[in-house]
Point group: C2
Chain length 215, copies 2
Amino acid sequence: MTDIDGEAGRTARKRGQIAEAAMAVFLRNGYVGASMDEVAALAGASKQTVYKHFTDKKQLFTHIVLATTAEVDALVKVVAATLDEGDDPAKDLRRLARAFLDALLRPEVLRLRRLVIAEADRFPELGRAWYEGGFERVLTTLTTCFERLAARGRLSLDDAGLAADHLVGLLLWIPVNRAMFYGSEAGDVADAERDRLADAAVAAFLRAYGPADGP
Amino acid sequence: MTDIDGEAGRTARKRGQIAEAAMAVFLRNGYVGASMDEVAALAGASKQTVYKHFTDKKQLFTHIVLATTAEVDALVKVVAATLDEGDDPAKDLRRLARAFLDALLRPEVLRLRRLVIAEADRFPELGRAWYEGGFERVLTTLTTCFERLAARGRLSLDDAGLAADHLVGLLLWIPVNRAMFYGSEAGDVADAERDRLADAAVAAFLRAYGPADGP
DNA sequence: CTGAGGAACTGGACGGTACAGTACTGGCAT
DNA sequence: ATGCCAGTACTGTACCGTCCAGTTCCTCAG
């Protein structure tokens, strides 16, 4: 999961090591199952230092999770770049769908997702922040892209937001749910299977929202 | 929810009380957060009796969860009854979609779902069993119904299983995810909103898989 | 370049709490 | 009397958060 904070002086480096270790421990054991001793040990730090940087176990946890929402920016950019440039919506959508699948089925993303869902009652504001900072951000980007495509006559729709919801629903419901309920290793869907899922979802989407061939 | 085991003699009744109490406690606090003392207290039983009926905390948990898969039979029957009788697929599908939403957005179903997802790493076989005993059972029923509808010319599709996946994806991805990430009270979607979601999903589905108006 | 001053860090121990699972005692019904 | 069960005390373990004594690393004047 790369480094969570930037590179800097000693204290910032330690802080980053602690955050990285905490991410690993939380992902592996869940919030309650994670022990601060283990975090400290994995970070190569002492508990004193851990508690100097993060006041609480709760505060450490929320910091870890919220830091990851920055990563969705990459996905947002992929969406915009893929759909605004190309001239063949079917092909572009297939590429986009494949990118979505690859992004969401990464094992650490799945584990993080499971973690946030599991603690949605203990940390309600955290679940909300993750949903809005990740999920909805991608959806609104997709929505504005669809509006532009509709204006160019490449799609026929009244409600671009609804169409965006439907595309991701067609694409992700099955594989993401399988991955949620099966163990964390269930994300390793074969490459060909991902292509099949992406193509099928886009085909159905285009039948529902493709350009009107009119009467 | 209701009672988890059948009615029977005193020992079986106690067993049922313990199971019911355990369900409540696990749903409220999660697996690790649930304490056997609390289960015993809520069941009006002593820990001795609890451990007489269920060897372990783990064993109690898996028993609780697996007992709920029986409930999906009701939903399966609704699917078959709704789709096989009616003569107006659009109307039937809307009713079916609405029934799906109502079933899956019940707060206790959402909590159970969150619980199983959270513990999918600790209890891999449990997640698999729940997915196959609930999720896939409904999907296969829907698939055979779609095959019959296609044979009668009411739908046009090559792959009924794919169409079933797509219908539930269109319908459930957004509301279920919202409910997963927001607190447990997020299931209370307004009635009108549920109708809107159901109608929109069915409309899109029928554009993708409706009877061919063909040449 | 050098070396002192000070901030940050380590390692381990500790109090307090919570909980799984066991054992024991007394009561209630048959 | 006999068998089942409530109530409760107990054991052993795990862990959060704090504290202290000693060490390492960075900084900056000389």
